[in-house]
Amino acid sequence: LIARVEFDHRGRFQAQGGRGRGLQQSEAWGQSEPITAVAGHSLLDTLWAKLGKSDQALRQEGFNQAHGFIQSALEAGGVGPIMKTYPKGKLRATDGRVDVEVRKGLAFVADPAKST
């Protein structure tokens, strides 16, 4: 038997798009407390590090904007379920992109240890 644990706060970053079948690399989180913005930035950096140089080059702007979204969410007190695709602007299926997926709960909050 495989027990499935349903965390209250879940989501993932996914690097997508590109020619051919396209890239499919992701980094997910699932935890009992909202993910902090710091941890979100770190997870996004982990995804970035998994990409080859050419895949990084195609998604540089998208990753920059995704980091910007995390920061905006932090300033707003966190963000609930949403799906955002970056970069903004004209986007085609074959363009390199990164998705920010907050599936459940809250994400990109301030570090509770620092706010007390």
């Binding site: 879940r10 993932r12 997508q16 798009g17 997910a28 905006s72 963000v79 609930g80 379920p81 949403i82 799906m83 955002k84 695709t85 970056y86 903004k88 602007g89 004209k90 986007l91 085609r92 299926a93 998705d99 997926e101 599936r103």
Partner: protein, 165 residues
């Protein structure tokens, strides 16, 4: 090609009108098609900033399918439209993952028509959209249905469409 609400990112009124246009496109899909699989608009609660990313969402929990529309400012006079199929919430093998139709476009009368064709096909699930053959199924649906503009202007359009499908 008439572009609709080209300044929607800088003009709140245009943004509201653009959102209204997407709602009209959605509501032009026959009500019984939307109801048959429990489709509902508003998959996500959209909050500022009003960046068009996304500008419209819908979901069918029963089908584990969704629609997400990303609207961007026009960059040229010709139609700007693309789409892809994505998975939300994990890989396709995940039991709770959701397959979503993502539409990215600048809003115009032509892109609205094409979005309607895709969305109405996706809602009833009678075609599989693939990257290799993105047009085949849509063409078939187009032949069977009136345009969304016609469907919202004619009171009996839904009945005509249903007979045609």
């Amino acid at each position: 090609m008439p572009t609709l609400f080209p300044n929607f990112l800088t003009d709140d009124s245009e943004y509201a009108h653009a959102q209204g246009e997407w709602a009209r496109i959605w509501e032009a899909i026959p009500a019984h098609d939307r109801a048959s699989f429990g489709w509902r608009a508003g998959w996500f609660k959209l909050a500022p900033p009003n960046d068009g990313n996304p500008i419209f969402t819908a979901i069918s929990d029963a089908q584990q399918k969704a629609i997400r529309v990303i609207q961007y400012e026009p960059t040229m006079d010709s139609m700007e439209f693309d789409f892809w199929i994505d998975n939300y919430g994990g890989n396709v093998i995940e039991p709770t993952s959701i397959r979503e139709l993502v539409i990215a476009c600048a809003l115009s009368t032509e892109s609205a028509q094409r979005a309607f064709d895709l969305m109405s096909s996706w809602v009833v699930g009678d075609i599989e959209i693939t990257r290799a053959e993105p047009i085949r199924g849509i063409t078939r649906i187009r032949a069977a249905r009136k345009s969304w503009q016609e469907s919202i202007s004619a009171p009996d359009a839904e009945q005509i469409q249903n007979e045609g499908v």
